[in-house]
């Protein structure tokens, strides 16, 4: 299936005038209808959850690091300590309207299984990840001959938690393979600004520093 047929890029991202929230978080928040029930997997210190709660969304979180969890709970957020790889199976089907996996997919041991679980427990999933096809990455590997490191991904190859990097193109292919429907897709540049909608997918895969996808279950039996 051609990439362009699968996804409708999302427009109208509200700029963050206050500078209080990260632009990719604002982008995710825009995708979620108020009053929804949301699970944020890998919620870090709860910044996105707090933004969602401020918009009347019933947010829950899972976070691997104990420090992250305790900071979230100390902010009054409903967050539990857990691992995306092992703990998602404990949630029932259709427990949430949306399940968010923000900048975490590449750190899971079984990204495919995680993705399938996201769309089992949530009717929709929002997944964002760093695009390994970003031109800076490609250039570092091609010219520098070393594993890429960027402003947003500064870890060296031997201490990075990110064990399953992919490109936007790879991700789209996986969604197709496991029958996941892509409702919306956005690529963000290095500064978290959405790339122009009219650009073709290869351009996104080259100049998008990260991809943000709104996913739902594909038609059964496909």
């Amino acid at each position: 299936m051609a990439l362009q047929e699968q996804a409708l890029p999302l427009g109208g991202v509200a700029p963050d005038r206050t500078g209080k929230y990260r632009s990719d978080h604002l982008l995710v928040a825009e995708m979620i209808a108020p009053g929804s029930k949301v699970l944020d997997v890998g919620c870090g210190d709860g910044e996105l959850l707090q933004l969602l709660e401020s918009r009347g969304i019933d947010g829950r979180g899972i976070e691997l690091s104990r420090e992250g969890v305790n900071r979230c709970v100390a902010r009054g957020l409903a967050v539990v300590q857990g691992d995306a790889d092992t703990d998602l199976v404990n949630y029932p089907d259709d427990a949430f309207d949306y399940v968010i996996l923000s900048q975490t997919l590449q750190a899971t041991r079984q990204p495919r299984l995680v993705l399938e679980n996201l769309l089992r427990i949530g009717r929709r999933a929002i997944v964002s990840f760093p695009n390994f096809g970003f031109w800076k990455m490609r250039l570092q590997l091609l010219v520098g001959g070393h594993m890429p490191r960027t402003e947003n991904l500064p870890a060296t190859w031997y201490d990075t938690p990110n064990i399953h990097f992919c490109t936007i193109k790879d991700f789209v292919q996986l969604c197709d393979e496991i029958n996941v429907r892509m409702e919306r897709a956005v690529a963000l540049d290095l500064y978290g600004r959405p790339l122009r909608l009219s650009m073709p997918w290869w351009f996104w895969n080259m100049f998008g520093e990260q991809g943000v996808f709104l996913l739902s279950r594909g038609k059964a039996g496909k």
């Binding site: 029930k37 019933d58 829950r60 104990r66 969890v69 305790n70 979230c72 709970v73 100390a74 902010r75 009054g76 957020l77 409903a78 967050v79 539990v80 300590q81 857990g82 703990d87 404990n90 949630y91 029932p92 427990a95």
Partner: protein, 400 residues
């Protein structure tokens, strides 16, 4: 040869303690024969009484009440000087003005559990039928019985829904029983260092403690009151064994190591050469001054029987189906009596019920006892949880 006095006789007269069991230095809610407490064992307990303390003010719409549930050897004196020992309340760091359970914002209630010995009806209370202490004639009680009695107290106080139920260890079990049996009456729940069921290892430790009590000839088949004795040695040993389970290897090592007590060389006797021995003996002897031996048997038994999943066809999640209560589950890394894995099982069941749950594991080497100690990270979490729940409950002045 040094003489050995492992556990000295209690210095407080047993008459004082017995007096506290029937006529406590607390508010008392009395329930007559027309209002029996229906126990799980099939007995209707009547008349009976509940001794309780309150702190702070109940607001006009009665929405700011927090019930604190005490642990095995705790009592209702959460945040005031203890009438028997003269020591500060057992959770003064947690309950008080400006503390996480802020008495300027919330109305705090803590009652002595049924089966206890500080004024709620238990084996140390007088049996109205005989005029003597109940002793082993007292019916065996359970955690659900304790909570059922608390619901009657809350009714008596005119409170429909508790803003929060809080407790650690056996208190945490009561919190979970409240949420499983009376979910609509609990707006939020803070179970700490506890479990939905007592493990085999914990039952084993309790059995050790009970056998120590019963092996003491002064126990007299539980009729020590009548015979003017008290099994202080057996109860002291039970407390010493239990106290080890409340700590951790690391905490004991940090606190005592292999250091000697007031001496440089071993005495080659069974005197308390090591500081850790001396400490344990002190724990044992101070405990018997304030606690009733039979009460210890009954309360440990109640914990042993506790198994929420067992009451719901073995499926824990069924106990919390559709629950609206907001949960904050807390465990401590070095707690091996109620390890984090037990809390995690609870959290999984709550997730499966789509409950709103927070779960924090606090890093500390102080073992199970950490929930009673000054652990700032725990206090921050408790405070924030109550603030956000207060916001959802529409309580004013919660700082948000």
């Amino acid at each position: 040869m040094t003489s050995v006095h492992a556990i000295p006789s209690p210095s407080i007269h047993r008459e004082d303690r017995a007096h506290e069991a029937d006529h406590p230095t607390s508010a008392v809610a009395k329930f007559g024969i027309e209002q029996p407490l229906k126990l799980d064992c099939g007995v209707d307990l009547a008349p009976f009484q509940i001794a309780y303390q309150t702190y702070g003010e109940l607001n006009a719409d009665r929405s700011n009440a927090i019930l604190v549930c005490h642990a095995l050897t705790g009592d209702q004196h959460v945040s005031n000087v203890h009438p028997v020992t003269g020591k500060p309340g057992w959770w003064e760091t947690m309950v008080g003005p400006g503390r996480p359970l802020d008495t300027d914002l919330y109305f705090i209630i803590c009652s002595n559990v049924i089966g206890g010995c500080m004024g709620s009806t238990g084996p140390a209370s007088s049996n109205p039928a005989t005029g003597k202490q109940w002793g082993l004639d007292f019916p065996v009680i359970t955690i659900p019985d304790m909570v059922r009695a608390q619901t009657m107290l809350i009714d008596r106080l005119g409170i429909e829904t508790l803003f929060c139920v809080v407790g650690g260890s056996m208190g945490g079990m009561q919190v979970l029983q409240w949420t499983a049996a009376y979910p609509a009456r609990v707006f939020s729940a803070l179970p700490v260092a506890c479990s939905t069921r007592h493990s085999a290892q914990n039952i084993a430790f309790h059995e050790l403690g009970r056998q120590a009590v019963m092996a003491d000839p002064d126990w007299r088949g539980g009729r020590y009151f009548d015979e003017g004795s008290h099994p202080h040695r057996g109860l002291g040993v039970a407390r010493m064994a239990a106290h080890i389970t409340y700590l951790s290897d690391a905490a004991l090592h940090r606190k005592f190591g292999r250091r000697m007590q007031d001496r440089d060389l071993p005495t080659f006797s069974f005197d308390a050469d090591f500081q850790v021995e001396s400490y344990l003996r002190y724990q044992g002897s101070s405990f018997v001054e304030r606690f009733d031996a039979n009460s210890y048997l009954y309360l440990t038994r109640a914990m042993d029987y506790f198994d929420i999943a067992g009451d719901h066809n073995g499926v824990l999640a069924h106990a919390f189906r559709g629950i609206k209560t907001r949960f904050c589950v807390v465990s401590f890394t070095s707690d091996w009596l109620f390890p984090t894995s037990e809390s995690r099982a609870l959290v999984h069941a709550l997730n499966a019920s789509s409950a709103r749950v927070s779960f924090a594991e606090i890093e500390t080497d102080r073992g199970h006892d950490a929930f009673l100690l000054d652990v700032p990270e725990f206090f921050d979490i408790a405070r924030a949880f109550l603030q956000s729940a207060g916001k959802a409950r529409g309580l004013g002045g919660t700082g948000n």
